[in-house]
């Protein structure tokens, strides 16, 4: 097994075991979205109009939940020292951890989204559009989040700092993700333009995230 495959398998295993982040993330997502109709009331056109935005916001918050433990648990138990010493490039290790995080917390959200979308009065075309935008956009949330997780690695209560650092950086993803998802709901607005920009944001974060997070980790561990 190569070092990167070993990291990927280990992180996914930890995430799905007791105390891991996978189930917590998707439960949080479902609970938050379920609360919205209770708060807004049975105004079906309104729910439908704000539905994509609610689902995107809930997905953003849910994918942040498990992020703060991503590097700090490895730092606390000494694993990070061994990872920094290894011959596998740190950038690729960070990438593998990001992929493991997305597969265990991002992907379940996308599976759950159509179900909770029913509570927000989304019809089939709207749900399909939403799932596609989440599929393309949530990796960007994870990989931007990696940077914050790496910066907060040595802090005891890093989760709060993580949210403060990461949330502003995710604003473009949120804007274009919701814009693309709204195309099928609100009407004649174009789907292609915001969706293409969303793809570009994800591709950029796939490159920038691991490099920035690896640089932050090296700096922090000095």
């Amino acid at each position: 097994m190569t070092p990167l495959a070993a990291i990927l398998v280990r992180d996914m295993r930890i995430a799905i075991r007791v105390g891991g982040g996978a189930l917590i993330g998707v439960l949080f997502f479902v609970v938050v979205v379920t609360l919205i109709p209770f708060a807004v009331g049975p105004d079906l056109p309104l729910l439908k109009r704000i539905g994509p935005a609610i689902l995107w916001l809930a997905a953003l918050l849910a994918s942040l939940l498990a992020l703060d433990r991503l590097f700090s648990s490895d730092h606390e138990d000494g694993s990070l020292d061994l990872i920094l010493m290894s011959r596998a490039p740190l950038e690729l290790v960070v990438l593998a951890k990001g992929v493991a995080h997305w597969l265990t917390t991002g992907l379940p959200l996308i599976v759950a989204a159509p179900l909770v979308g029913l509570l927000l009065n989304l019809d089939a075309p709207a749900e399909l559009t939403l799932v596609v935008t989440l599929l393309v956009g949530t990796p960007a949330l994870t990989f931007i989040g990696l940077i914050g997780a790496a910066i907060a690695v040595t802090l005891q209560r890093g989760g709060l700092l993580l949210a403060v650092i990461v949330l502003p950086l995710t604003v473009p993803v949120l804007i274009f993700g919701v814009a693309a998802a709204n195309a099928a709901v609100v009407g004649p607005a174009p789907f292609g333009t915001p969706f293409t920009i969303l793809c570009a944001l994800t591709l950029a974060s796939l490159v920038v995230g691991p490099f920035a997070a690896a640089a932050a980790l090296r700096q922090e561990m000095e």
Binding site: V9, R13, M85
Partner: protein, 215 residues
């Protein structure tokens, strides 16, 4: 293979931990690093593996694999055991063997060596401190690397486990490996080289004491 330090210095938090350190360890030798608390034993080991930047001086490895750094040819056994509580004993070891080693490792044999073979499927959250330490040591057995850097390797080990560790160190050294161990007490190996950090650290700690305390 020979690990040499010439005029090595380590700075952390604005003060010198140690300066002007010279030592050499060759294959088949054990270097015991001793000194009081805060003398820089752990910092020295972390400097050797590159986790702390070398402040001044040079650290070289002669006769090793020129393609690899010192850290990539060394095992580092730090204060922490680098184990995940939710993974089983065997899963933890298999991960480190897969991450650190290039060829498949014999997990079962390594667990037998450290006396944890009956506990392979137990989540490591249930291990005692000594058992965690032994599982950490199993990593050194499962993946072959010539340089072992051990930070207080005997901490929380009982007498039997300490003897087993000593036997492990002796066979590693006999096979041409080298060991650098930071330790308080006698390490129990016949006449190892000793590096005392107290003497070099004294001048810098004296200046640190003369200055107002830095938080």
């Amino acid at each position: 293979m020979r690990l040499c330090a010439v005029d090595l210095a380590c700075h952390r938090g604005g003060r010198d931990i140690f300066t002007g350190l010279n030592f050499a360890v060759a294959s088949g030798e054990v270097l015991a690093v001793t000194g009081r608390n805060g003398a820089g034993k752990s910092s020295l080991l972390r400097t050797i593996v590159g986790l702390i930047r070398v402040g001044r001086g040079k650290l070289t490895l002669e006769g090793g694999d020129p393609e690899l750094t010192i850290a990539e040819q060394a095992h580092y056994l730090g204060h922490q055991d680098a184990l995940k509580p939710s993974l089983s004993v065997a899963e933890n070891l298999r991960f480190w063997a897969g991450f650190l080693g290039s060829e498949p490792a014999d997990i079962a044999a390594a667990l037998v060596t450290v006396g944890l073979d009956g506990l392979a499927d137990l989540p490591s959250a249930y291990l005692s401190a000594g058992q965690r330490r032994r599982l950490s040591i199993a990593r050194l057995v499962a993946v072959k690397r010539p340089i072992w850097l051990l930070d207080e390797p005997t901490s929380s080990l009982d007498d039997a486990a300490q003897n087993r560790l000593m036997a492990l160190l002796r066979s590693h050294v006999a096979e041409g490996g080298m060991v650098v161990a930071a330790t308080h007490g006698p390490i129990g190996l016949g006449g190892p080289k000793e590096l005392r950090l107290d003497d070099m650290a004294l001048p810098s700690s004296a200046t640190a004491a003369a200055e107002p305390a830095v938080p």
